[in-house]
């Protein structure tokens, strides 16, 4: 079990130091009986922070937020196209996803309050899928990305003005932890 995890880490070539450090875990079972379910979690989420002692846990949501240009792309009224600014953000997300091939994300699609409920659910779905399709076009496996539309049900900006609506017409990428 442990061997397999280490092998996959080595193959990615990204977490080589962490992977080797994990080999040191072989000393641990002497203290405690092995915990089959906990073992995987331990090896993947708490590698000793060798290179970044103060940084977020690699592969975590915090690491994602620290690594990408943004978790959110914005849309014009009734639109769902990915503009150049969105492309920059999504490319940074794709780079992070390439670094952590075991990680999955959910993309939430949202709308502003100035539309009807059913249509906004459909539009939010279309926005989330537009973001997903762009990530897929950058080589991210579609099976790693799920989408969900909240329509106009979950605003982040609470005003009833153009500035608030612009912030609410969005697709947000969230890592699945």
């Amino acid at each position: 079990m442990t061997r397999k995890i280490i092998t996959s880490k080595v193959l990615t070539g990204l977490l080589l130091t962490s992977g080797l450090a994990l080999a040191g875990c072989a000393t641990k079972p002497k203290e405690l009986p092995p915990q089959p379910t906990g073992a995987t979690t331990t090896t993947t989420t708490t590698p000793p922070p060798v290179s970044q002692p103060m940084g977020p846990v690699p592969g975590s949501q915090a690491d994602f937020m620290a690594s990408v240009l943004g978790d959110t792309i914005l849309f014009d009224t009734d639109r769902y196209n990915i503009d150049s600014e969105d492309q920059g953000i999504l490319q940074s997300q794709a780079q992070w996803l390439a670094r952590y091939p075991g990680k999955r994300v959910t993309i939430e699609g949202h709308c502003d309050e100035r539309g009807t409920r059913d249509y906004n659910l459909a539009l939010g779905e279309r926005r989330a899928n537009a973001a997903k399709n762009y990530l897929v076009s950058l080589g991210i496996d579609a099976s790693r990305i799920t989408t969900v539309s909240y329509g106009k049900e979950r605003p982040v900006a609470l005003g009833s003005d153009e500035a608030s609506w612009a912030k609410n017409r969005r697709a947000v990428t969230i890592t699945v932890q």
């Binding site: 009734d78 769902y80 309050e113 100035r114 539309g115 009807t116 409920r117 059913d118 249509y119 659910l121 459909a122 539009l123 779905e125 279309r126 989330a128 899928n129 537009a130 997903k132 399709n133 989408t147 969900v148 539309s149 329509g151 049900e153 979950r154 605003p155 982040v156 609470l158 005003g159 009833s160």
Partner: protein
């Protein structure tokens, strides 16, 4: 003791009882219940643009013997044109007998009468039935007061809105929450026989339509299809449900048997096709699509053929709902503000019924004379349910215990 000055005035004095007896109905005894019955009838008949009712709290009481022998000269002196009188009796088994009489005061003659035997907890239905008799006899329209409404009860701040499925009588009474609010619930629709409610829930994280059985409290997914499903609508015969499903971001309209089974895809445009409302004879469906570039309203045959756009008003047109009478389609018109409007099924004779910042999601009263919708307040996001008649002049806010949206009327109870 109000004086009635309007020539369309209807006087509704307290319903007297033959004998004051205790009852489990509101009021605790038949005498107090008689006043509550008249109050409910008064509440039903006011604010719909046809009548000027005067209720029991502004009128003298009448003797039990007067119910079938009105003192017409007294009512003429009060300028009442119509008179609704009735009585209430409690039976040995606790059941209530309510009599309802409608008189033409000027002619001094009886126009209609009905009697109802109800359980104490159903006393309001007797009042609604009486109001329905008066309304039908005087307007020539079908009744609608003895019906129920499903809606979404909303609480909490704008960014953490708790949305629960709830039901109530057409006047807001007998309120009951169906879901606890842990998962956001939206867009309920009563089945035509009131046995089920189709609605959207975010249970398990994604928006899916569930069919909730009111009797058993059980629910099931409307379809096992993979995508998110929303905008449920029943066929007039209750045998089918329309739903909208997004696959890879593209939303289309499907039909599925209400008991479950194979779905049939009715639309196939690359745009968003959503919603759908059957004509009363079940032969056509009006729906919404942005295939032209923005939300507009289309009509198709019930099998999905012959799809034609009917809205050409500028702005966007959304959430069409076919009147149960078949002659009108209510919808949300979006041009800056969201407003409720009606048009005929060919897309002609468009008229606004409301003019507020955000009114949306119209549904019809069972008789097709009243449109119900919800209104959202700017900035606060607070919602409320409103009813408006087809002139657009008579708007009223429905009393709900908390904020309310997505109202859907069921049919008149048998």
């Amino acid at each position: 003791m109000g004086t009635i000055n309007n020539d369309a005035a209807i006087a509704i004095p307290t319903f007297p009882t033959n004998e004051m007896l205790p009852t489990a109905a509101d009021g605790g005894n038949t005498e107090a219940l008689g006043r509550n019955l008249a109050r409910v009838i008064y509440g039903d008949l006011k604010n719909n643009g046809l009548f000027r009712p005067v209720g029991p709290d502004a009128l003298p009481g009448i003797a039990f013997g007067e119910v079938t022998a009105p003192a017409f000269p007294n009512w003429r002196a009060r300028s009442a044109e119509m008179l609704v009188q009735g009585f209430v009796k409690a039976g040995a088994d606790g059941r209530l007998t309510v009599g309802c009489y409608l008189y033409d005061v000027a002619l001094g003659s009886e126009l209609a009468r009905q009697g109802y035997v109800v359980k104490p907890e159903e006393w309001r239905r007797a009042a609604h039935k009486c109001a329905d008799m008066v309304y039908s006899r005087l307007s020539g329209e079908s009744p609608f007061f003895d019906s129920k409404i499903a809606y979404i009860a909303e609480t909490g701040p704008k960014d953490h809105r708790r949305k629960q499925l709830a039901i109530m009588d057409s006047d807001g009474a007998n309120h009951r929450f169906i879901t606890n609010g842990q998962a956001t619930a939206l867009t309920p629709r009563y089945s035509p026989d009131y046995s089920k409610i189709a609605y959207l829930s975010f249970l398990n994280g994604t928006p899916r339509i569930y069919v909730y059985d009111i009797g058993s409290g059980q629910q099931r997914l409307v379809t096992e299809g993979k995508g998110p499903t929303f905008a449920p609508r029943w066929s007039p015969d209750g045998k089918s449900i329309l739903y909208s499903m997004a696959i890879a971001g593209n939303t289309d309209i499907y039909r599925v048997p209400a008991t479950g089974g194979e779905s049939v895809k009715l639309t196939d445009s690359p745009g968003i096709d959503v919603g759908g409302s059957y004509s009363p004879d079940g032969s056509k469906i009006v729906f919404e699509s942005d295939r032209s570039g923005s939300q507009q309203i289309y009509v198709m045959n019930a099998d999905g053929t012959n799809q034609k756009r009917i809205s050409f008003f500028g702005g966007r047109s959304a959430t069409p709902e076919w009147s149960p009478r078949g002659d009108q389609i209510a919808f949300t018109h979006i041009a800056g503000n969201l407003r409720i409007a009606v048009m005929n099924p060919s897309g002609g004779e468009m008229r606004y019924l409301t003019d507020s910042w955000q009114d949306e999601a119209p549904t019809w009263s069972p008789n097709g004379r009243i449109v119900q919708f919800f209104r959202t307040a700017k900035t606060t996001g607070k919602t409320s349910i409103w009813q408006v008649d087809l002139t657009g002049r008579n708007e009223r806010r429905l009393n709900t215990p908390v904020d309310a949206s997505d109202p859907a009327w069921g049919p008149v109870l048998p």
